[in-house]
């Protein structure tokens, strides 16, 4: 009868465990509701000469969807594996539920992992795969069947109990792996690029589903990806990593609107970068006036609150392509409104990309700029767009992000 269970019932059961945990915390007094689920304190992991994770400090709050985002080899998987217990930190300490977990083997950590290639057991059917964790805890057979049914209902695979895993599609296998992990009510669910093997459409579908599921069950997710769009779509908090170091963390808007360094600005979305020197700083509004190498004067916001800058410092001004506007040069003298920068240039290349077009415009004062233009009604024909055509690019100073280093 497990198939008749509604996802809601299943959710209720899974969510119940969070309450139980809270009680456990209250009674032991080790942690309270504000204790982060996972706390990584100054953790460094070295493999011989390679430093995979470098002095990482991260606090993962209860019930949130965290994404570890970064290019290949930046240490995302290593971080997950340390939380799961497959690797031991070289230095530093990891706390789970407020308790240090050094030396506790993976099978005694209340953490479950969804592996990139699912790692489903080939010699077991779906139900036995999903029930594996329960059997290790000596859960009674009837109880196991009930919870397996719930978990499968949750991932919308009710009725697939007796299927063989290799007969299922990638997306279905993915869900089995998810159910197998969730059925154990882990404190934290670790997911290592779980959608990596799926095609784009299915991926997008699963992204939304995963996020919805995470909301429903209220379990903390730590999600590894190198796909910025995926991270933006799903995360409560994105942690951008590079070479084993955290570059910046925050919610998606914060990260996109306010990248604190050039790497983040480039990795999350894309940016035009203009090298410049600080001329004056307004500490109260955290704005600065800078002059580019070619003499263009710009004002902008200093994004990194920790940065101390003074006149004469070398900085980079970043602008998002979609914050720039472009129009044909009508011959009118470039006389900009206050707060706006207007530059004359010539189109080097225009690319039509369906919903928007992208133009590479060569300007005298700011070099080559990428400008993105939404193809709204009538917009398509407004710009001639041939190479060599004279155009005017303009943007407001609020688009200028001043990055240090």
């Amino acid at each position: 009868m497990t198939t008749s269970l509604t996802p809601d019932a299943a959710t209720a059961s899974l969510a119940g465990s969070a309450g139980a945990r809270a009680v456990a915390r209250a009674t032991t007094g080790v942690a309270d509701e504000t204790t982060p689920d996972v706390e990584i304190v100054d953790v460094t992991k070295r493999f011989g000469a390679v430093t995979a994770v470098d002095r990482m400090r991260l606090s993962i709050s209860r019930g949130e969807f965290y994404s570890l985002l970064g290019p290949s080899g930046c240490g995302k998987t290593t971080t997950l594996r340390m939380i799961a217990g497959f690797e031991q930190p070289t230095e530093g300490e990891i706390f789970l539920d407020g308790k240090p977990i050094a030396g506790i083997p993976p099978y005694r950590r209340n953490v479950n992992t969804v592996f990139q290639h699912y790692a489903l057991f080939p010699h077991m059917d779906v139900a036995r795969n999903v029930g594996y964790g329960l059997r290790q805890r000596k859960v009674a057979k009837v109880e196991e069947a009930r919870r397996v049914g719930e978990a499968l209902a949750l991932v919308r695979l009710a009725g697939y109990e007796r299927r063989r895993t290799w007969e299922m599609s990638g997306g279905q296998q993915q869900r089995v792996a998810l159910a197998r992990a969730l059925v154990n009510h882990p404190t934290v669910l670790l997911l290592d690029e779980p959608l990596g093997a799926l095609d784009l459409k299915l991926r997008k579908e699963m992204q939304l589903e995963l996020k919805a599921l995470q909301r429903e069950v209220g379990i903390t997710f730590v999600y590894v990806t190198h796909d910025q769009e995926e991270a933006l779509t799903m995360s409560d908090v994105i942690v951008v990593m590079r070479d084993g170091r955290i570059q910046q963390q925050g919610d998606p808007t914060e990260l996109y609107e306010c990248p604190t360094n050039r790497f983040v600005a480039d990795f999350l979305g894309s940016s035009n970068f203009i090298a410049a020197t600080v001329e004056g700083v307004d500490a109260s509004s955290r704005t600065a006036t800078v002059r580019s190498d070619r003499g263009l004067v710009l004002r902008g916001t200093v994004t990194d609150p920790a940065a101390a800058i003074a006149a004469g410092d070398a900085v980079t001004v970043a602008t998002r392509p979609e914050r720039l506007e472009v129009r044909p040069d009508d011959g009118a003298a470039p006389g900009a409104a206050p707060g706006w920068t207007e530059l004359a240039g010539r189109i080097r290349q225009g690319t039509y990309l369906g919903d928007h077009s992208e133009y590479r415009v060569v300007t005298d004062l700011a070099g080559e700029l990428i400008v993105r233009r939404q193809n709204t009604v009538g917009a398509g024909s407004a710009l001639g767009g041939g190479p060599g055509d004279p155009v005017v690019v303009r943007w407001h100073e609020t688009a200028n992000l001043i990055l240090v280093g």
Binding site: F115, H117, P122, R137, R180
Partner: protein, 303 residues
């Protein structure tokens, strides 16, 4: 409509014929080998087993079941060989499994070296290796040493069942290790991590994941080891001091000393039948419950 469709089937039909030809060509050498070195000799053995011994030894055509009657009267060598082969296979498995597991999962970059070390002794003749044990276990060395510890001057290792089993395990270890190693090596390492992640300890993981997945290799290895051990003659002769009368002894006696080919052939047929039955029972036993889920060993669909 019909005419428009005809080219497609014709094309695939031609492709199928070509691929059938290729399949045939690829299988030809093996088929010839199989026919001339297995089927034909087996046919001779079966035919001989119903014949009579020629006056000076050998075979004359006839049809009699006397040979089988005689074989049935003396079943002891079969039982002796069966006992030895079963014990030998089991012990070999016991030694090979951890070793193969180590090689496949823990040897790391030294894996190649270990495999090489494992193989090198087998570049030497089987007989030389077996004789070497005579020296190692002999009174001048290990046998004498242990005898000294026990204070028993008559203690010996050689000529005991222990020495035979040791020789068997040593001689057939690679046949067991390599199929095991290959299946374990091919096994996705993340399965083990997944198991641990889900709360299974080392041993539980080994029992529930590693072992079932290695089962096809284990069965292959056991069969590869069991078959020659059934016919084993040289090791019991050398290390066991010839104190046992095995089916191998019986065959040597029949073929070489008595030159009674029909009787020897009948014994060979019974031996082959015994092995086939034993192996079938074994494979059936291993597959029980597995086949229901389609992950049987030998011929069942691989994961």
């Amino acid at each position: 409509m019909a005419t428009a469709l005809t080219p497609t089937p014709a094309r695939t039909g031609g492709g199928r014929a070509k691929s059938a030809l290729l399949t045939g060509a690829l299988l030809l050498p093996a088929s010839i080998w199989y026919l001339f070195l297995l089927v034909l000799p087996m046919g001779f053995v079966v035919a001989f087993s119903f014949g009579e011994k020629a006056r000076n030894g050998g075979y004359t055509p006839a049809f009699t079941l006397d040979n089988y009657g005689q074989v049935m009267k003396g079943a002891d060598p079969f039982l002796e060989s069966l006992k030895l082969a079963t014990a030998g296979t089991f012990l070999t498995l016991l030694v090979a499994l951890p070793l193969a597991y180590f090689l496949a999962t823990r040897a790391g970059s030294r894996k190649g070296l270990f495999v090489l070390l494992l193989v090198i002794p087998f570049w030497t003749s089987f007989l030389i290796r077996t004789y070497s044990w005579l020296i190692v276990l002999g009174r001048g060395n290990l046998g004498g040493f242990i005898g000294g510890l026990l204070g028993d001057p008559n203690f010996r290792l050689l000529g005991t069942p222990g020495a035979i089993l040791l020789g068997l395990v040593y001689g057939y270890l690679p046949l067991m290790i390599f199929p095991l190693y290959v299946t374990l090596e091919r096994m996705d390492r993340s399965l083990i991590e997944a198991s641990k992640d889900l709360g299974a300890g080392r041993w539980a993981t080994f029992r529930q994941i590693t072992l079932p997945i290695a089962l096809p290799g284990l069965v292959t290895g056991s069969i590869l080891v069991f078959i020659p051990m059934m016919g084993e003659y040289v090791i019991p002769q050398i290390l066991g001091y010839g104190r046992t009368f095995l089916i191998g002894n019986a065959l040597v006696l029949d073929f070489l000393e008595a030159r009674n080919w029909p009787l020897g052939s009948a014994k060979a047929v019974v031996l082959i039948a015994t092995m086939l039955i034993t192996i079938s029972v074994y494979v059936w036993f291993v597959n029980r419950g597995r086949q229901a889920r389609g992950v049987g060993v030998l011929g069942a669909r691989p994961p």
